[in-house]
Amino acid sequence: MPVLVVEDLHVSVGREPILRGVNLALNPGRVHALMGPNGSGKSTLALSLAGGPGYEVTRGRASLDEEELLSLPPFERARKGLFLAFQYPPEIEGVSLREFLRLACAERGQGFCEFHKSYPQAISQLRMEAFDGRELNVGFSGGEKKRSELLQLYLLKPKVALLDEPDSGVDVDALRLIAGAIRALAESGAAVLIITHYPRILEHVPLSDVFVLDGGRIVEHGGPELAHRIGEQGFEVVRG
């Protein structure tokens, strides 16, 4: 039974149609990939589902646990268990990473004591000791931002995690760390969607489904072998 279902989703940005009828379902405990060339609408899909400003849904539906999602403000979608790891997380000065996460975890129903156990655990598991005490994303390198997103994902324990290019700009060690966290997340029962251009990260995770987005539509849906084919031959393989 899928946890997130997207049906015939049309989204415009500044009156320009970007998504033209996306259909997609994500299953709990599974890792899915969304691939596609530049400008195909991958980030738009993720941001629309999370409720980003400026993304206008003109048609279609999306539901989380059979509850309608698209009419809710972003924070209610998050509270229902949706998480988007941003491709470009903004810097927020003067806000400590820890304080921010404490607030966010409280909204997900985690008490003060629970947080004070889980936070140091997550920090050490993701080898992020150097991040503790820093301001949220301020002065983080590209790779550090990805790990900060991962830390948030880890602590907030979402039902559905949309990861927008978690692999861009990270070194091979960080890539393994990220892949490990994605595996653990899926094992805990979450549905994961990895948005990427490259099949590299997909070799490190137990992949079940691959969706290919092109021109605002899902043009192909297959198993892990689809990612391999794209890796070898490029997106031409899915174009008619």
Binding site: P53, P73, F75, R79, F86, P90, I92, G94, V95
Partner: protein, 444 residues
């Protein structure tokens, strides 16, 4: 003044009667009368907010709604509940060397730790101090003369209550002293006088907090703070102001810093209808330093006109003026940062930094830096920024489950954190709470 309230228009007779009632020495009575004459002649300030709605003929210039007590329990119920809600008794137990509380014109409660008293520190109500220590005459309104402006003159004529602190040479008061000012009567004027004399090599941190319930008619708060930091002394003065939106908050604050002395002003302003406040440090001796850290939050209908001044009158003196202003709704914030380096103040350094965060399209802000140096041998720095809360930041925080109000208050808290972290914890927690509440209200 056996009556609890006074006639609503200020007269010379009232000023005399006030002095007689307080049992003051002749010099103070003469001082009040001189100030009253100046007040009558002086014009309103020629800059800043519109004060034409401030009605000098509709104010209680003296009010004593409650009698002083020795124990918190003896205060009237309503006031006790207010002070409990402000957690004053708790702070007194946990974090303070001494505490005073003033309601309208008179101090109603005061305490000082025995060990601090044993160090020779004086922490008294200003009224008592004027009667008991004749030498105060050499300091009282010597940093800010009545000629300075209309409100200095008014203050000199009708001042009542406030705090006197004397720290003996070399004595370091390790825990802060605090006073809390409450305006409890409608259309009252509160004119407390705070005088701090820190003898050579001493140090002290003083905190004042202010609040009032909201009334329909305007109230006036016009306090005065004078600080004398002698050679090598360190004085830190923290103010957290949350006056209600019917209060005109027009204050004078000035410090004289002698050789090697340090004076730091830290302030958080969240309330009032109109504020005019420009704490000034005169760097009188070589090597004197001052910092002025201020944060203001102007909401709908408020005009917070604040600033900081550093006058470098000696060589090798240092000043750093930093402000963070947040403006919401039809609020307005003005920051006037003034640095003046006199010709002989060679080797001095001054830095002015003002940043503003606008939360709404109609919010208004202005920063007016004035940096004058009469010598070339000086380092002057100035930065000013104005920004808006970005939609990307808001969305990011909301995508983690924070409501819009929570996200907004987190961003604002982050913006003011360079100042907030300088404010003692119990106040900074209260300030964060107040910020969040105001966003919940604004966003709904």
């Amino acid at each position: 003044m056996t009556t609890q309230r006074t006639p609503r228009t200020l007269t010379r007779e009232f000023v005399e009667a006030l002095s007689v009632e307080k049992g003051e020495p002749a010099w103070m009575r003469a001082h009040r009368e001189r100030c009253f004459a100046m007040f009558e002649k002086a014009p309103l300030p020629r800059f800043g907010p519109n004060l034409s709605e401030l009605d000098f003929s509709d104010l209680s210039y003296y009010a004593r709604p409650v009698d002083p007590v020795k124990r918190w329990e003896d205060l009237p119920d309503e006031l006790r509940r207010t002070f409990n809600a402000l957690r004053l008794p708790e702070a007194e137990q946990k974090a303070l060397a001494g505490l005073g509380a003033q309601v309208d014109s008179e101090v109603v409660y005061r305490s000082l730790l025995d060990e601090v008293r044993a160090q020779g520190v004086i922490f008294a109500s200003m009224d008592t101090a004027v009667r008991e220590h004749p030498w105060i005459r050499d300091y009282f309104m010597k940093a800010i003369p009545a000629e300075d402006n209309k409100f200095a003159a008014l203050h000199g004529a009708v001042w009542s209550g406030g705090t006197f602190i004397w720290v003996p040479p070399g004595v370091e008061v390790s825990v802060p002293l605090q006073a809390y000012y409450r305006m409890q009567t409608e259309a009252v004027g509160q004119f407390e006088h705070t005088l701090i004399v820190a003898e050579p090599g001493s140090s002290v941190h003083y905190i004042e907090g202010c609040s009032a319930p909201r009334f329909a008619r305007s109230a006036l708060h016009s306090g005065m703070v004078e600080i004398f930091a002698k050679d090598g002394a360190k004085v830190r003065f923290t103010t957290v102001q949350n006056w209600s939106k019917n209060v005109y908050n027009l204050n004078n604050k000035r410090a004289l810093a002698h050789a090697g002395a340090t004076v730091d002003w830290v302030s958080g302003s969240l309330g009032s209808k109109v504020t005019m406040l420009y704490p000034t440090t005169v760097l009188l001796g070589p090597g004197a330093r001052t910092e002025n850290l201020s944060f203001t939050f102007s909401q709908d209908g408020m005009w917070l006109d604040s600033g900081a001044r550093a006058l470098h009158r000696a060589p090798d003196t240092t000043s750093r003026l930093v402000s963070r202003s947040v403006v919401q709704g039809s609020g307005r914030s003005v920051f006037r940062g003034t640095v003046h380096v006199f010709p002989h103040a060679k080797g001095s350094k001054a830095h002015v930094e003002c940043s503003t965060l606008l939360l709404t399209p109609d919010a208004k802000t202005e920063t007016i830096p004035i940096l004058n140096a009469e010598t070339d041998d000086v380092e002057l720095g100035h930065e000013a920024t104005v920004g808006r809360v970005s939609q990307d930041q808001l969305f990011y925080l909301m995508s983690r489950g924070l409501s819009q109000a929570q996200a907004m208050s987190l961003i604002v808290n982050g913006f003011v954190s360079p100042i907030l972290k300088e404010i003692p914890l119990e106040y900074s927690i209260e300030l964060k709470g107040l910020l969040e509440m105001s966003f919940e209200k604004a966003i709904g």
